[in-house]
């Protein structure tokens, strides 16, 4: 009962948010709609009994990624660019063109049909386990799995995060200006040449 309500609300939130996100011209709004999508997906996780994943989703995405995105949009102006190239890419209009929605729906249709067709046999292959709605806590088992079966991936992901941290800091740091004394040296050199 609760699960059904939660699922309906969440999937509605997800679908509407992502369509709005595709639709809107304003990147800032796009990011906020992304927030909606993410919270909705977290709700879907809850209906699937994945409490820890849902909490992590909110923690990482809402607390981190979305704010980063907002920052990035703000720092870079958040302009909506038009296509610059000629030829084929002009057929794929950027946001705001009247063709956008048509293209989106078209691609969605083709791709969605293909996916459904591709995986149509999968539903007969997969034995869907008709589990009841009873809720079992996952967190202890997740913890055990992370340090037993998936230990290597766990450790590697920690290294990845460290690398991302250091890499992001180094990449985004503004380059140092050329020190003034180098100009002085160059100038002196020129003076010398003039004397000769």
């Amino acid at each position: 009962m609760f699960a059904n309500i939660l699922f309906s609300v969440s999937s509605l939130l997800v679908i509407s948010s992502c369509i709005l996100m595709m639709w809107t011209k304003n990147l800032m709004h796009s990011c906020v709609y992304l927030l909606g999508v993410l919270i909705g997906v977290a709700g879907l996780y809850l209906t699937l009994g994945a409490d820890f994943v849902a909490a992590t989703q909110i923690m990482v995405y809402v607390g981190g990624v979305v704010i980063l995105m907002l920052f990035a949009v703000m720092l870079t102006g958040g302009k909506d660019y038009q296509s610059q190239t000629q030829k084929i890419l002009n057929l794929f209009p950027s946001m705001g063109n009247k063709y956008t929605f048509m293209w989106g729906v078209g691609v969605a249709f083709v791709f969605g049909c293909t996916l459904i067709y591709f995986f149509r046999n999968l539903f007969s292959v997969i034995k869907v386990i008709e589990s009841d709605d009873s809720y079992t806590p996952t967190i202890e088992r997740l913890g055990e799995l992370l340090v037993t079966d998936h230990l290597v991936a766990f450790e590697i992901s920690s290294v990845l995060l460290l690398g991302a941290l250091v890499g992001a800091a180094i990449i985004a740091r503004p380059r140092k200006e050329r020190p003034a004394f180098i100009d002085d040296i160059v100038d002196d050199h020129h003076h010398d040449e003039e004397h000769h």
Partner: protein
């Protein structure tokens, strides 16, 4: 006691770590270098003392510790190739460890006084630490390979120490001479190790003992010589080189060029002791190889010859150097006549009194600023403590009763006399030994009289010399060492002949009980033994070993003579008593002669110079050995050969073979250059490049760099793939 890494390894590692640390400290904080070295060796001494106490508490001949660990393991499948290192400690090792660490500690302490303010005096301690650690490693080693490694390490250290004052040309030459001369012996030693490997398949000492006990050497020969003889001879050659025996003794007098403490170390505790120690370790091999006669001859000749040379030396240290060679000759003689126990005892006692003598000599030289005895005299008043210490040692080396030298040397001479009775072949070595015993007190007393007694012969230096005070690092080490020149510490009785028993473990002669020759009857314990892994945990079998009845193990008797019989035992006893009486008489005469010549002036030394002028000339030239080696062997022989080879190399080989080949190459080069330029470069390389370029013109349009194009292509590809797979 637990025999683990933490209790054994420090004996070797503390000096070694001191060396490593000093290598770092010497550039930055040279002040603490000597103290690091001293701390290292004193710490090592306490660990050695613990081992010694353990062995004394067990007090059993058969007690030994053998533990191994894997050093190199190249085994693959069935081919086993393992090199194990390990420790082997028996009674002899325990005594040796205590002696080496104790003597080396005192030498280190003395060096802090002697070397202070000298050039590079911190570096001296670096070498000293490495030297000591190498000796300790050698003593602890359980196999010949690691013994060889440490042996070479000591060779290097002695090279560095002898050439310590490398500004002086003689010092450089002396170090080179020492290094090259011992090298001759080392080559043979390595050959001996290989010979043993070939038979035993292993080089660790218990395995060799076990193989000998099983008779593995029987019936095997190489070049028509019995293999045991061959291996034993080769290893004995190592001893000859290291312990300065007859043909290769030339390096040791020259080793005086180094600082005096290092001479003390080389001549007493480490370098020369290592050679004799090796021979003692490989004693069963000599026994099986029947090399005893040769060994006895070499020992006797060395003992006698060096003693004669020592008679006329003017340099204080040179007298001591030749006396060292002479005493080493006694040890080797002892090995030759089967006095295993006595030879080892003489090694220990000699180490102590010779170290003390050298340190005393260092004290004299450092205080007096001269080393020539003709310039000395009457130093007794200036250097009273040194005088006491040096007299103790002189009495010991002279073989005066109640001193350690008497105990040990007399046993060697007693055994030599016994062998003389039973086997005619030992006639000459035994006689030479007794003659040497006559000469020893004479030259030592001469040295003492010339240095300390009589009138002074150089007033300036005498006035300049300060009166000695009791300082902890100058003469306290000497006095400590001189205490141990008393025979009671080694024999358990004052004379060593069982006449006056003094308290010792179980009221017996502990040295005799503990150090037992590894001859056939007691080698059997090594058969089928279990190897123990050297680890952090002591896995020693705690059950006490069975007590064996002590029986005198004599060496090599003549054929048809049962050495274990009652008759033999009585003979031996008689021989010992006779030997003791004989040597006391000899020593008394010798001392009388010395007094007569240098104190009372009854006989002038020049009397002998005139009477024995030919002999004196030979002695002065050190029996022409240096001339023989340098002028004959090297200058006449090797240099000629070298010149010829050099001419052959540059004139024939270089000119014709190499230059000719170069011309051929030039032609080949020209041809290949043409081929490379025309065929490979123009056609193959450039052609491929042009082809690639044309192809790339077509393909690179795909790589437009527009990410979204790629994405569209990706979607298209997925759709196409789905269609291909699905429809």
């Amino acid at each position: 006691m637990n025999y683990t890494i933490s209790t054994i390894a420090p004996i070797f590692l503390l000096p070694f770590f001191a060396f490593v640390l000093n290598c770092i400290f010497i550039k930055k904080i040279p002040k603490i270098v000597p103290w690091v070295s001293v701390a290292g060796i004193v710490g090592s001494f306490f660990f050695a003392l613990a081992v010694f106490c353990d062995f004394m508490s067990v007090y059993n001949t058969d007690y030994y510790i053998h533990k191994i660990f894997n050093w190199i393991d190249l085994s693959h499948g069935e081919n086993v190739f393992k090199i194990n290192l390990g420790i082997y400690i028996d009674n002899m090792t325990a005594i040796m460890l205590l002696m080496v660490t104790g003597v080396a500690s005192l030498i280190h302490i003395f060096s802090t006084w002697y070397m202070k303010g000298d050039v590079r005096w911190e570096r001296f301690f670096v070498y000293l630490s490495l030297f000591t650690s190498a000796m300790l490693g050698l003593v602890l080693s359980d196999n010949l390979l690691s013994i060889f490694m440490f042996w070479e390490m000591m060779g290097f250290c002695s090279y560095s120490l002898i050439g310590f004052y490398f500004e002086k040309e003689e010092a450089g030459n002396a170090s080179l001479k020492a290094f090259m001369t011992t090298r001759v012996g080392d080559v043979f030693f390595l050959l001996g190790i290989l010979a043993i490997w070939a038979v035993v398949g292993s080089v660790d000492i218990p395995s060799i003992y076990a193989a000998i006990a099983e008779g593995a050497f029987e019936g095997k020969s190489v070049f028509g010589i019995a293999l045991a003889s061959f291996a034993g001879f080769c290893i004995f050659c190592g001893t000859i080189g290291k312990s300065a025996q007859f043909p290769l003794q030339v390096w040791l007098p020259d080793a005086m060029m180094g600082p005096t403490p290092c001479s003390a170390l080389i001549h007493a505790a480490t370098m020369v002791a290592a050679g004799v120690y090796l021979s003692l370790r490989m004693y069963p091999l000599m026994y099986v190889g029947e090399l005893n006669t040769m060994i006895a001859y070499i020992g006797g000749i060395t003992a006698f010859g060096a003693a004669t040379i020592a008679l006329i030396q003017k340099d204080l240290k040179a007298v001591l150097a030749y006396s060292t060679i002479s005493q080493l000759g006694y040890m080797v003689l002892g090995i030759g006549v089967g006095a295993y126990n006595a030879a080892f005892m003489h090694l220990v006692t000699h180490a102590i009194f010779k170290a003390c003598l050298f340190l005393s000599a260092g004290s004299v030289i450092h205080s007096y600023h001269d080393k020539y005895m003709p310039n000395m005299g009457g130093l007794k008043k200036k250097l009273p403590y040194t005088w006491i210490a040096m007299w103790c040692c002189t009495l010991a080396i002279a073989g005066v009763p109640f001193f350690s030298g008497f105990v040990s040397k007399d046993r060697i001479l007693g055994d030599a006399l016994f062998m003389l009775y039973t086997n005619n072949a030992f006639f000459i070595p035994a006689i030479l030994g007794f003659v040497g015993a006559f000469l020893t007190p004479f030259y030592m007393f001469r040295m003492m009289f010339l240095t300390f007694h009589g009138k002074n012969r150089d007033k300036d230096k005498y006035d300049h010399c300060h009166k000695e005070k009791l300082t902890w690092n100058q003469n306290v080490p000497l006095l400590i060492l001189s205490v141990f020149t008393l025979g009671v510490f080694f024999s358990g009785s004052l004379t060593g002949q069982g006449i006056i028993k003094v308290v010792s473990p179980e009221g017996k002669d502990w040295f005799k009980v503990l150090v037992e020759a590894p001859v056939q009857t007691n080698l059997e314990k090594f058969e089928g033994r279990k190897k123990q892994i050297f680890s952090f945990i002591d896995d020693r079998d705690k059950t006490p070993l069975p007590q064996t009845n002590y029986e005198h193990q004599s060496g090599f008797a003549g054929p048809g003579y049962d050495i274990n019989s009652e008759e033999a035992y009585n003979d031996l006893h008689h021989a010992h008593v006779e030997g003791a009486i004989l040597s006391v008489i000899i020593v008394a005469f010798s001392i009388l002669l010395a007094f007569g010549m240098y104190i009372f002036g009854w006989i002038s030394p020049s009397f002998f110079y005139d009477k024995l002028s030919f002999w004196v000339k030979a002695i002065k030239n050190k029996y022409f050995m240096d001339w023989l080696y340098i002028d004959v062997f090297i200058k006449k022989g090797l240099l000629k050969l070298n010149n010829f080879l050099s001419w052959f190399d540059s004139g024939i080989y270089d000119r014709y073979a190499i230059d000719g080949w170069a011309k051929v190459n030039k032609v080949i080069f020209k041809a290949s250059h043409w081929f490379d330029r025309v065929v490979v470069d123009s056609v193959a390389v450039d052609g491929t490049a042009v082809g690639t370029e044309i192809f790339s013109l077509v393909t690179k349009s795909v790589q437009s760099g527009y990410i979204q194009k790629y994405l569209i292509a990706l979607v298209g590809a997925i759709v196409a793939l789905a269609m291909f797979l699905g429809f």
